[in-house]
Each structure stands twice: as structure tokens, then as C-alpha cells.
Symmetry: D2
Subunit: 309 residues, 4 copies
Amino acid sequence: MLTIINQCLLCIYWVVLIQRIDLPDVQSSLAVPSFKLTRVGVKGVKKLAHVKRPGKKTIIPLVTTIDLFVDLPASQKGSHMSRNLEVAAEIIDISLQKPVPDMESLCAKIAKLLLERHEYATLSEVKATADYFLERNLPSGKKGLEPYILIAEARAKSTGEIKKLIGIKAVGMTTCPCATEVIRKMISAGNDAVVPTHNQRNISTLMMEVPSDDHEVDANDLIEIAENAFSSPTYSILKRQDEGKLVLDAHKKPKFVEDVVRDMLGAVLKKYEKLSDSVVVIARSESEESIHKHNAFAERVTTLGELRK
Amino acid sequence: MLTIINQCLLCIYWVVLIQRIDLPDVQSSLAVPSFKLTRVGVKGVKKLAHVKRPGKKTIIPLVTTIDLFVDLPASQKGSHMSRNLEVAAEIIDISLQKPVPDMESLCAKIAKLLLERHEYATLSEVKATADYFLERNLPSGKKGLEPYILIAEARAKSTGEIKKLIGIKAVGMTTCPCATEVIRKMISAGNDAVVPTHNQRNISTLMMEVPSDDHEVDANDLIEIAENAFSSPTYSILKRQDEGKLVLDAHKKPKFVEDVVRDMLGAVLKKYEKLSDSVVVIARSESEESIHKHNAFAERVTTLGELRK
Amino acid sequence: MLTIINQCLLCIYWVVLIQRIDLPDVQSSLAVPSFKLTRVGVKGVKKLAHVKRPGKKTIIPLVTTIDLFVDLPASQKGSHMSRNLEVAAEIIDISLQKPVPDMESLCAKIAKLLLERHEYATLSEVKATADYFLERNLPSGKKGLEPYILIAEARAKSTGEIKKLIGIKAVGMTTCPCATEVIRKMISAGNDAVVPTHNQRNISTLMMEVPSDDHEVDANDLIEIAENAFSSPTYSILKRQDEGKLVLDAHKKPKFVEDVVRDMLGAVLKKYEKLSDSVVVIARSESEESIHKHNAFAERVTTLGELRK
Amino acid sequence: MLTIINQCLLCIYWVVLIQRIDLPDVQSSLAVPSFKLTRVGVKGVKKLAHVKRPGKKTIIPLVTTIDLFVDLPASQKGSHMSRNLEVAAEIIDISLQKPVPDMESLCAKIAKLLLERHEYATLSEVKATADYFLERNLPSGKKGLEPYILIAEARAKSTGEIKKLIGIKAVGMTTCPCATEVIRKMISAGNDAVVPTHNQRNISTLMMEVPSDDHEVDANDLIEIAENAFSSPTYSILKRQDEGKLVLDAHKKPKFVEDVVRDMLGAVLKKYEKLSDSVVVIARSESEESIHKHNAFAERVTTLGELRK
């Protein structure tokens, strides 16, 4: 028989009651069928974090969306998912008082603590994204904040190994080298003439592993590298003259998505020449083609060592 | 006391049992607090529908996503939402055997039947969208299917009045008239020279009320109107020469989003000169600006009568 | 003939040159065809804003996504869209130093300034959304930040009239009253027994016009109202006992989406009894039905005066 | 010098002209910097395809969204992306007349032809998704179409090796085993009583490699497996009694996302016992938790061989 829960009278008693009873730990019961699982956790957790870059005074507020996972052995029915939220809250809420130096460190701290709290796990993984604003010199000469997206990841193993990555998404402009040369020929323009071509919004991603030694990878530098790889960076505010100059500059530097990825890789090689061969590099570029309804895409997932060959 | 439901033994008995009992109609009970509601229903219903245009042989399969609403009087606690699904299933599933002539008629039929089934409702509203493919002449001279989005709506009143709308979303290309003229001046080009400018993907929407008399509004014509209003339509396949020609053509016809909307309105006025003044027209254009991270947008919501003034 | 733009030598000269030339104002030229436009502007502008509530010390950082529009007369070819961005930057960037009291005031300031800068406009409209975190008492007794969405709007007329709205989106839980009673009957449970039913994630929206007089509408109160209208608010962290209690509480308060909307309306009436009849109220509730692949939805768009009838 | 393009007079001449000139192949020029690229191609291509299952009469129309990539050697500046669209059009447009047996074969054909057309490529990759409708027995005893998502992938190597995968996304319902047992204890209910718990919409994905031998993997079977792994499948139409029964059934079969993944894996092992050890299996389950604002997630990426250990 199921005992009636009286909403009015028993409610207070019941609250008192349940504090004494020993609640079942269903997650720790045996799994049937007993397969191990690669990743178990939570997705889409929204948290406010505070970052303060080394040597800077400003606190950067980041509205982060986080995914947190651990693996699960074949014997355990469930992962204690509330622990993921407790770990995220502990570390991120502390950041509101004591800001972390960067988002990848935040992820690494969370990944490490996830392994401690999930005693059955051998791997943990944390992924975070956040809107990010960086001061840029506008073509008008003024300064202004432009929007970007930060991406950070960390993976920890029960052996103690931790990998962390920092990355960015930047929006820029590409002008098509193919249409440029085809049209140059079609209108018999000289090699140094600026000719019309199709151009479009491009979204590029650059991610790098951050080694635990002294050589720091800064998200701002990755934004710089991505923006230099576009035909032109773009800006919120452009008055007529700035717009004209930006468009002409972009036409002098036509770029396929392939070029954007390669130029990011080239700049990464140059900028991070002291980093070790094992450092992972991910570069992606996607153009919302103005002449097509679909997008153009290029990608390289590699290591500094591979790039140096 | 709550009777135990025995999972093993009583299960079959219980199924038999419930077929005899009189189940409560909670939706029809009194609402507290008793406010009437403007729209109550379901969103995101996915259905496969079949359309066959008058005088055509081909059956067009449409994967539609539908929202269906009725109003709800202050006295009634809940709307019987399963009736919305029954109505949608009845009318759309029949279309698989006996195709409807167009998507707006499908919505109108559903809207009418919704009012019959929800005896307490005075208004019903149905919105549907679907991917749609139309054969176009590619610049290469070949024919090919290009993707569009169909939008249909219908609103019915218990007085018998029914309004239906058909609309489309088309993706095209706009070249900026402002940068064109600024750059023409900056590089001292003549008035008839094709000069570089920024261009981008543009998504335009054109919707029209479909009167119940003889004059038919055809979604294919609305697509035609939208594509003519762009600097250029776009195509899935463009070989080098076609790409060059399309880009040059688009540069000879620079368009603000404002121009795209106005040119759609102008073409609608001309095409539908026999339709009555009361016919609703909605025109929107949004450019994914290549020189900015944000979009440019223009809109006119009006009637043919207003446009004719 | 189009003058060659020499990329190397003339670049600096050219920059100097263009500062002397008089650039064309294409937007101010005549529109052909000459229809007026309802809304012209920009969408998806991302800005960081600072809000400080009256009487509070904490600065709230808001990553806002803003749409800004004005109308456009039939005579004018284009709206000067860069002015929208300048206005947004001016007002929002100042907020980083001198925080605004609330997001709807920010929108109203922008809407007002838009009309000043677009001398041809008679209407302006600003819409903003932002992730927002509010401290809540977790069931465990601890305090924690829960995520919400802020929505603010402002519309200004050249006659001086300004309307502003503040709203919120909150995520909660609903348990179905219909399945509750049907199952109560099916398992012959008593009227006060807590019986199983289907429950699901619900996203509710509550927006209110904010009059320009003393009576303030606070987004935090709207969140409070929405969370009370759910079967239960939800929390990031729930340990076993808290989870059990929350689920039982939610089962004692079953709610249709219709109930959620009506209970929000009822609470609004009570809370804002001093506000005038003309104040606009918008309440929406959408349940991601666990027993269906589609969503259930209810809405009322009205005024306090209508609700008081 | 840039020749003036006269929009009125020279337009026809110019079209004639360009048909004689030899257009530059910019993509084939040397890449600087010369890094190879992992994936280069197009994303978000929309096409209508026709599928006819072996032994069935009905033609299934599929609105597919496709991504197509090849790799690019360090020496080549650009990939000829229009070839991707030509290949997709050739194979998919033929399917409208001669339907393919399944979506993974369609992808495999495209992947193979991509390698032929991109003579510099050593790898190709094709990913496609489509809305899909399958007839199910509704609880009412009637039959009805329920919506799912098909996922197909193919990867080809220049060595001749081709891998193809077929997968599905299904929406169902999960009831929480943890809250079930905690509440059972809190309300002192017996072990066989059906007690309240939180439940929610769950979206699960099951993908399998399809070997090229006789043993066929059918998307419909994967849907069957996924729906059996939920606490309950869900349906578009549920009348009161069906709803009550479905909710009670789901409460008798509480499932973590971990359980859903494991039960899919268990059913895959049983169903495909004749398939070889090397066959890749991907199983994912995500619950839109009703008691939280975030989602719960579990995943296993593995092979049949690993599962058999």
C-alpha cells in the first residue's frame, strides 16, 4: 500500500521525516547490461565566471555555457551528475570573488576536481564557450569593443595527465580569389587593378593546446591571428570612408577558406616557435558564400610538430 | 489509500479495467483564475504532406512543421490539445492519397476543422513551413533544383471568416550601392564602370494573403519576384565563367535591403493588380553583411490598398 | 577608364586623398519605387552593458543582443544604418562606466536617440535580450545563481511618446493535471494521494510595459511570478533528498500551460494593482511535452485594464 | 588599366566575348603557405532525394542536408568546390528517377565520385541528415506516422576503401530511476507500487557502420532499438486513456540516459550478432531534464568487437 501524502497536514512532518531516512543510491547499483560508457555528464550549464588576465586590472565577466563529462565503468549503473554541477558551482562561483587567469585554467580545475569527486572515473572532459569582447582600433581611429566567442576545453586522466585548449571564433570577411582572376580576365583588367569579386561573412575558429609550462597561449593573440588571416576584419561601426577603404583593402587580399586556414597555421607556427611539437592545433574557416545558398569550409586538425615538417 | 499497481500480474487485467471506467475530462473543468487566453495549442508538429499544383502532374512531398492554436474562454480550464493533432493527422494524412492544391489551402482546412472540434473556440490559427525545391535555369543553361522555404498561414473565426496567406523565403545576393558609389569616387572610376563593393548572402521573405476568389497567388511567382529583387539570385552550381558573369551582373544592380523590399512590393503591385485593396502583403529582407558581424534588415507590413495610394 | 589602385606606393597617398573628397550620400538619394518602409535597421548586434539596480551595490554585466529599427519615408532611398550602431555604442559603452538602472531604460534611451539621429524617422524600435543570473535559495538551504533571460523593448515616436517593456524567460517544470486525474482513476487512488503523471521542462515568458511614473516593474519580480506559476521552479543542483521533495511538490501542483499563463496573469494583477489600465502584459508558456515530440503552448497578449474586467 | 564595363551597350558583346577567353584556374595554383588540409568542401547543401527500400513499393522522399569534403594536398591552393555540388546533383538528381535503396549508399556513391573528380584528394567524406517518417502502431490501435531523423555518413579513401554509416535520432521519454527509489522511500511505498518521479523528453542517437557484405543494417531497426530503450516511446496523438497507460508504463521502466545507451548497445549486440568485430557503433542519449535547466547526456563510441568482450 502506498501511504497517502497529505498536502496540508503532513507536509512539515514529512520534511522532518525524510531527513532521518537513509535514501537509496541508485547510481551506485549494478548496471544491466554492463557496458562501460565513454562520456556521461551534463550539457548546456550556464554560469557567470570572472576572468582577470595576468598583469591586467580589468575583470572580464564571461557568460559561459559548459558541458561536463566523466567516463563510467561497466559495473556502475549511473554517474552522480549532481556532482558535476557542484564542482562547476564551486570553482566558477569562487571565480566571481577570485577571478581565474583564463578560461582554459577554469576548465582544467573543473576537470581535475571532477575526477576527484567521481571516484570511479578515469577520464574527465570539460568544454566551455562564452561571448567575449575585445577592444579594437576601428578604421575611424577610435577604439571600440568587437564581439568574439571564446572556446576552452580540458581533459584530465586519473593518471594525473591534464590537457587544456583555448580557442576563439572570429567573424571576418573573405573576397574570392577565383572570381577575382576570372573577372580580371573577363574585363581585361591589369594585374594590379582592384576588380569586383564576390565577398561574404566568414566565421573562423582557431584552437590551441596550452602547455603547462611558461609559454602562454593568449586568446587575444589567436583573435589577432584569425583577423589577419581574413581578407579583412570587420567592425560594428563603419562610416562611408572607412567602409570604402575596408572594402578596397579586402579586395587587394582575396582569400579562399583554404587560405584563411593556412594563413592561421602559418602565423601560429611563427608565433609559437618555442612550443613543443606535441601541441595540438585546430584551424577552421567557414564562408557564408554570397553566390551560393550553402557554405564553404576548410579545416586542419594537427600538431605543431606536423606543421613543422 | 493508493492501490498497488502490480507490474506483473495485474497489468493485463488493468488494461481491461480501464476500458470500462469513465475518465475525468480535466480540460473541461473550471479555470482558476478565469482569464481567457489568446492562443492555446501545439508547436513544432512535423508531418509529411503531398501537394499537387492545379494542372500539374508532379506530386510535391513537403516535410512541414506546423503550429496550431485556438483561443480559450475564461471558463474552460484547458484546451483539448490532442484534437489539434487529430485534425492535423486527418487532413494531412489524406493529402498523402489525395494531394491538396497548395499549402495555404491545407492550413485553411485545418483551421476550419479546429473550430469545429474545439466547440468553445472563436478563433483558430495554423502556421506551416516546409523546405521546397523549384526548378531553375542555371547560368550554365542546364536546369537544376534550388532550395527555398514555403510559409503558409490560415486564421479562421467562428463567424465563418477565413484568411489564408502564402509566402516564401528565398536566399540571394546583394551588392551594396553605398560602397559602390563611395569606391567609384575614391578610385575616380566613371559612372558606367563596374567597381568593387561589399556583397553578401541575403534572405528575403514575401508573404501575401490569398483571397478566396479566382485570382490565385502562386508561391512560385513569389519566389520569382524575390529573386528578381536581389542584386542576383544564387545557384548551387556555378562554374568559373557563370560565377564571373553572376558576380558582374550583381555589381551592375547594387541593392540595399530597403531596395529589395521595395522592388518586391513594386512587383507585387504590378503582378496582382486585380486583387482587392484589403489583401495583406508582408515583405522582409535581411542581409548577412560581409563588412559587419550583424545583419541589415528592412520590412513592410501593409495591404495592396496602402501600396496603391 | 578606371584608375589603377597601386597597392604599394599609392596607398598612403590615397588615404590622404580620400579625406579631401566629398563622398556621395547614397542613402539620401531618391527611392525608386517610392514606398515607405515599416522597419529598417540592424539585427543581432552584440554589446556588453552594465546595469546597477537602484539601491544595490553590485554591477550586473549583461551580454546583450540588440535589434534597432526606425521607419523610412517613401522619399528616402536608404536608412543610415551606421547611425544605429553609433547610437548603440554611445549609450551602451557609457553604461560600462556609468551603469544604467535597468535594461528597458537603456532601450528607451537608444530609441529616443535613434529618432534624433534619423531626422526622417517617425518611429523607432529597440529590442534586447541578455542572459541573466539571479540568486535563489536552493532546496538545500544554500544560495546559488540560476540562469534566466532578460528581454527589454522600447518604441519611441517623433511626437515624444515612448513605450518601454521589460520581460523575462524562465525555465521550470510542469506536471500534467489531466494525466494526474486519469491515472488517479485508473489506479483507484484517493483524492489526496500523490499519483504519477507526465512532467517536463517548461519555458515561460512574462513581459510588462513599464510606465514612466513611480511604480516600478522589476525583472526579478517577474521571475518570481513565473517561477511561482510553474508546478515547481528548477535548480542547477539537487541532491537526492531535494530532488525527491521537488518532484513531490511539483506533483501536488499539476499545471497545464494554460494554468501557468493564467497564474502569471493573476499574480501580475495582484502585484501591480496601482498601475494604470493601459499597461500592456504579455504572458506565454511552452512545455516540451515528455509524452510528445511537439510542444504545448499558451499565450495571452493583453492590458491590465482588460484583465481587470 | 581596367576596361569600363558599359552596362547597356557592351553587355551582350561581353557575354559573347567571355566564351572565347581562357579563364584562369586559381584553385590549381600553388598554395602559400603550403600546408595540407584535412577537410575542404561545402556544408549545408539542401537536396531532395528518393529512397526505395529493397522489396518495398513506396518511394520515400527525403529532404536532405549534406556536407561534402575532400582533403587537399599542400601544393594545391584551392579545392574545386563546384565539383562537390556537381557530384551531389548528379547522384541525387538521378535518385529522383531511380531511387537508391538507402541513404548510406547514396553517401557512399557520392564519396566515391568525389575522389574521382578531385584527382588530388586521398580522402572524401559525406554527411547527410533528413527528416524521416515511419508508420507506428499508436496506443489507440490505429496506425500513424511518427517523425525521426536519419543520419548517414560515408568516407572513401583513394586506396578504394569505403566506410558507410547509417543512424537515427529518435525522441522518447525517460523516467528517473533515482527519484523513483528516493520517493518510494520518502512515501514508504512498496517495491511494486508505481510512484511519481520526474520524467522528460529524451533525444537518442544510434549509428552503425554498414558492412558491404550481405548483413544489412536497416534504419527502421535502429529506430525500433532506440524506442525500446526509452522508458516509453512517444506519439503525436494520445487520447486520455492512452496517455494514462503510456505514463504508467514509462513509470514501470525508469531509465537513466546511461541505461538508454546501454540498452541500445545490448540490443545492437543481439540483433547484429553476425556482423564482424570491426563494425563501428555510436550510441548517445540526451535528456532535457524536467528538474534542471541543463541536459543529461551519455555516450559510447565503440565497435561490436569491443562490446563483445
